[in-house]
């Protein structure tokens, strides 16, 4: 996908994110000011664009802007754009080069610092757990454990971390964003396993010479900020406009916090798919196969599934993407753990042709490719195009029922 996306970044600074503000500017918190009562906003703009660098994977990547402050401060704050919005991770992570604040690193006992190894399938991200006050739209949460990725003060990555994935993703270019906002169905990135088990793969207690696996209480784990907001804390909704089949240069939509907490996030007649409470999987039925390890993921850049009848691209730059001779119309049935199901129609276009026709487009609803492991259908950001998709957190209930669920 690199070839598809090279050179896009320079063309794009037209989103509501205000690229001109940049991730390197420290801004003062605006406060209430002015005399007119502030709107209680639970909505933040989100955008699909080429991201903060021209070298990363940029197709179908959703970004927003987040303000972080040192705990308790209303002035020592920074607003950071191009934070990826990810419904299949949990917690806020910021790349150190994009962060100008010195956030307090959490201790892990015995003079050690608490470090984390965040593992995505394609890479690992290493850095300390620090506390930050987080402000997004009118929502705020205090002293939230976040991860600072690629902090030069903690550059020795233990083998137990670097062995978990093939590539180090500790720079903005390698990560493809200035940070990532994990707002999936779970409250913490690890959960109860890390409370009881030191060899959890996530957390390490590090001195200047030694890192050892460690347990971490739930409250000390990197935490989904939505769950810690004072209000509107039972989930979120991503709403994006429809995109024409050939794609769009950029796309702007909304991330709305809370479900059934305000007039703008009321539930209606959505299809509610509960997900399994351990892994967050739902079931996809595709080509008569029941794929029980499937998921909807704003952090995936296409629609990824296995169908050996669809031609794959021949250009090595598009390896593992689909390149059918003409547009395919397919259907998949998504089924929740609650047995509720819904049929979804989608199109698959030729990835090479999409790129050739509109090389600067970043929102590509028909971009699809193979998924390497059996039993999974990974319905990425294109699922959100033209939909209003709610993510209800675990341990919460809305008028549609108990989380964790996805509703659309």
């Amino acid at each position: 996908m690199r070839a598809l996306l090279i050179g896009l970044c320079t063309a794009l600074c037209l989103s509501a994110l205000g690229c001109g503000g940049g991730h390197d500017g420290t801004s003062l918190s605006t406060g209430l000011g002015g005399g007119s009562p502030p709107a209680v906003s639970n909505v933040v703009s989100v955008v699909v664009d080429a991201g903060p660098t021209s070298t990363s994977l940029d197709a179908n990547t959703l970004f927003t802007t987040v303000t972080v402050c040192t705990p308790g401060s209303t002035t020592n704050c920074q607003t950071i754009d191009h934070i990826q919005v990810d419904t299949q991770s949990f917690g806020l992570r910021i790349l150190a080069p994009a962060l100008n604040l010195a956030l307090p690193v959490q201790a892990a006992g015995g003079g050690a610092s608490l470090l984390e190894c965040t593992v995505f399938v394609d890479g690992y991200s290493w850095g300390p757990v620090a506390l930050a006050d987080i402000k997004i739209s009118g929502e705020s949460a205090s002293s939230v454990p976040v991860q600072v990725i690629g902090d030069p003060n903690f550059s020795n990555v233990p083998a137990d971390c670097s062995g978990q994935a093939p590539t180090e993703e500790d720079t903005v270019a390698a990560f493809g964003a200035n940070g990532i906002l994990g707002i999936g169905v779970f409250d913490q990135d690890c959960g109860t396993t890390c409370v009881t088990t030191a060899d959890n793969g996530f957390y390490f207690a590090c001195t200047s010479t030694l890192c050892q696996p460690t347990t971490v209480a739930l409250a000390g784990q990197v935490t989904n900020p939505v769950s810690l907001f004072a209000t509107d804390n039972n989930g979120s909704i991503i709403e994006l406009p429809n995109v024409a089949e050939q794609g769009a240069a950029t796309l702007t939509g909304s991330l709305i916090f809370g479900i059934d907490t305000q007039t703008n996030n009321a539930s209606g007649t959505e299809t509610v798919l509960t997900v399994d409470p351990q892994a967050g999987y739902l079931t996809a039925i595709f080509n008569s196969q029941s794929l029980t390890m499937s998921f909807i993921d704003s952090g995936s850049s296409g629609i990824f599934f296995t169908d050996t009848s669809i031609a794959q691209c021949t250009d090595p730059s598009f390896s593992q993407f689909y390149c059918p001779a003409s547009t395919l119309s397919l259907t998949v049935t998504l089924q929740g753990a609650n047995g509720v199901s819904g049929e979804i129609g989608f199109s698959v276009d030729n990835a090479q042709t999409l790129e050739a026709n509109n090389p600067t487009f970043t929102a590509l609803p028909t971009l699809a490719g193979t998924y390497p492991t059996p039993g999974s259908f990974d319905y990425g950001l294109p699922f959100y195009y033209g939909r209003r998709v709610a993510t209800a957190l675990e341990n919460n209930t809305t008028s549609l029922g108990a989380g964790p669920y996805i509703a659309y």
Binding site: M1, R2, S56, L57, D86, Q88, S89, F90, T118, V119, F120, V121, D122, G123, A159, D160, S162, G163, Q164, A165, P166, T167, G182, G184, F186, D189, C190, G191, T193, T197, A198, D199, N200, G201, F202, Q278, A279, G280, Y281, M293, F295, D297, G299, S300, S301, G302, F304, S319, Q320, G369, T370, Y371, P372, T373, P374, G375, S376, D378, G380
Partner: protein, 158 residues
């Protein structure tokens, strides 16, 4: 069929580990994929997991339950060598340990071909690695196509 010698090696190593873990090191290789069956013991030690072994028609299956909740499976052919490893669970296992000498070529190939956070497919030299998932839900496998015994469906290797 599995030969008796590899089974004996496993037994020796188990005995050694009971006496002194350091004594285990000389009798086994450093990592699993492509290595003798005894190396599974090293994996279990390094990954701090417990092993359960079952016999199948064309291979012997070692299951290593990791403390993280992730299950690792290592497939050993009649030649006594590990031809596939697979994993599934909340955290990725230490792939450098499980892939051994295949890890660096895997990492190099993965770095050169990025398809995003949610999945990965690498075919390089005599190695195939396929992985997918997201935070709290990782799954994947690595295998040596030339080492897969005749009659074994790739679908079994998970």
């Amino acid at each position: 069929m599995l030969n008796a010698r590899s089974a004996m090696n496993v037994k020796k190593c188990l005995v050694a580990s009971g006496v002194l873990i350091a004594a285990l090191i000389p009798c086994i290789a450093a990592a699993a994929l492509g290595e003798p069956e005894a190396s599974v013991q090293t994996d279990a030690l390094q990954l701090r997991g417990s092993i359960h072994v079952t016999e199948h028609a064309s291979y012997r299956l070692h299951e290593i339950q990791l403390p993280s909740g992730t299950l690792v499976r290592e497939f050993v052919g009649a030649d006594g060598k590990v031809f596939a490893v697979a994993w599934r669970g909340p955290a990725a296992p230490n792939l450098r340990q499980m892939l051994g000498r295949y890890f660096e070529p895997f990492a190099a190939a993965a770095g050169a071909h990025r398809t995003g956070h949610s999945h990965l497919q690498i075919q390089t030299g005599d190695l195939v690695v396929q992985a997918g998932g997201h935070m709290r839900a990782m799954a994947g496998r690595a295998y040596l196509p030339a080492g897969v015994p005749n009659g074994v469906d790739l679908g079994e290797l998970h």
